[in-house]
Symmetry: C2
Amino acid sequence: MITRPTLLLDKNKCLTNIERMVNKAKRNNTLLRPHFKTHQSAEVASWFREFDIQCCTVSSVKMAEYFAHNGWTDITIAFPTNILEVTAIDDLAEEINLNIVVESIETIQYLEKQLSNPVGVYIKTDTGYGRTGVDADDYDTMQQLLRVLKTCKRLIFIGFLCHAGHTYNTTNKDEIKNILNVSRQKLLALKTFMANDFPLIQISYGDTPSCSIVEDLSDFDEIRPGNFVFYDEMQAHIGSCQRSDIAISLICPVVAKYPSRGEIIVHGGAVHLSKDTIKDAEDHPYYGVAVKFDGQNWNSGDVLGLVSKVSQEHGIITVSDRVMNQIKMGDLMAILPIHSCLTANLMKGYQLTNGATVEMMI
Amino acid sequence: MITRPTLLLDKNKCLTNIERMVNKAKRNNTLLRPHFKTHQSAEVASWFREFDIQCCTVSSVKMAEYFAHNGWTDITIAFPTNILEVTAIDDLAEEINLNIVVESIETIQYLEKQLSNPVGVYIKTDTGYGRTGVDADDYDTMQQLLRVLKTCKRLIFIGFLCHAGHTYNTTNKDEIKNILNVSRQKLLALKTFMANDFPLIQISYGDTPSCSIVEDLSDFDEIRPGNFVFYDEMQAHIGSCQRSDIAISLICPVVAKYPSRGEIIVHGGAVHLSKDTIKDAEDHPYYGVAVKFDGQNWNSGDVLGLVSKVSQEHGIITVSDRVMNQIKMGDLMAILPIHSCLTANLMKGYQLTNGATVEMMI
């Protein structure tokens, strides 16, 4: 019996999401190196092994340590390398096949000097997102970096890695396909341009919207989506999934009702869901979607209302009169999160629909 | 040596913040029952004991269990009671002096029937915030609740509890004083109206902006501010504190620089700071204030830039050319959080400026 905010994980939905992406990668003959920052759980990671996935992506050295400790021996840290962690990186590289991401000569030279073990290196490449990476069109800088990398003994250049995060800013599938095509062209052009010096260059691409929506991913040597393992309301909004594909929900007890203003208060707020929002049809932000919960499973087709506000522990659900009348104090609602990565990170653990608990990195 | 995102706590600033509020409560002859949801730490709580604070406020049963386990014997859970947790509440009430908050007859009757130990009860009273509680002007409902409470054997009515969270929506001190005055008048009127039946009624008031800004709090039997223990950029923005009073900062390594767009990337994002924002002078949201860090202490007077964007692990700091030129890869920046409660909750622990670690509730 759930009595407190609890992050419920539907293993069947999760396995279906994994299998769908595994099959797509197979059809495209590309390596699936899933990003594990979404679930941060050795047990969920082990479900990928059942589909013969042996490589993964993480977003911090700490997370790489956690998964290495749990038997993962081929890990890419897809975050600009923090030179202060060079000792931790070197220690990891002694144990596993570790890849990192660089984008400045300063960092490359520092790492080459300090590392004693070989580490795979990608150049973080910006194909239009504008967050991190060398501009994919800036061949001068690319050549400067590659000239230095060519002389390195510890840093083994692998290729170009890109995260097209701007696919999150649209709900138009054609626009997402276009972002992927632009990224593909830029990465392939780089690959061709550098092919004489580095004939084995690889291109690594990631993000759940494009990997979910686009069928042809065959030009990429590997793909690194992560969120698809659970999906969330953001991905349903973008069009990467259906609400029924979302594999986690936050189960929340009803603690107060305000019929006059059409609001129900649940225990479940910013410390459970995060403060990530998307806008509804009337341009109001919302923090999650409350759906019916029968004590074991949620029904994503039976929407009770939107989470219109949160504070530290409170979630405020705006509901219709019909819903107000059917909900009573102590009922449990399931909230589909806006951003499953941040919700999972806050909850620090899962409960399966059969009642078992699943641990994650602390 | 800090190499990863680390939440640094300046104990001296924290003790000064505690002492200032303790002295204000003493001058007003009101009980300070600080809210511990901000720090969630038995060690920080123990610093309050040095000022002879024996009572505290928390926002969940789980947090009450944590502090009870750490020697706190007089705790108010200032969150609408979740009837599903009645067993946990009853167990706690067997060990400590526990107070809870109710606002419906349904909840009162359920608790009275299920509890075997006495529990103190406040009626959650809404003086204008509009989140939870019975409208302070709705004497009919108040009387209905009190009629039922009068017959209770387990639930011991204490008084009216109010959180004037609307003080967070203004940066005008007169408006904050006005919110407090309206709340005071409404709570005093209720106290007077019910005095015949309940001569010992208490009124409990809380929120850091009003308790920081207003001098005269003498009409309240107790005050329950919490955030003041650390303060944050939000409170500095509201006017509750100076930036120099903020007692925590997130230390973040610099991992990338983009001079052409005036942006520096640090390791420190939504999973460290949270996604809480306030608006700058040009109405752009920001997620924190980056200030100079000398390896041991930060200097809140030396602002390097604002955190203009965050993703899961990235913080994007917008800086001037002058700052861009002085910062290099691997430098550490200190980020003053927008909302210290959410940042502390995410970081799950502190490091003191002398290098010692301080644990918190997991």
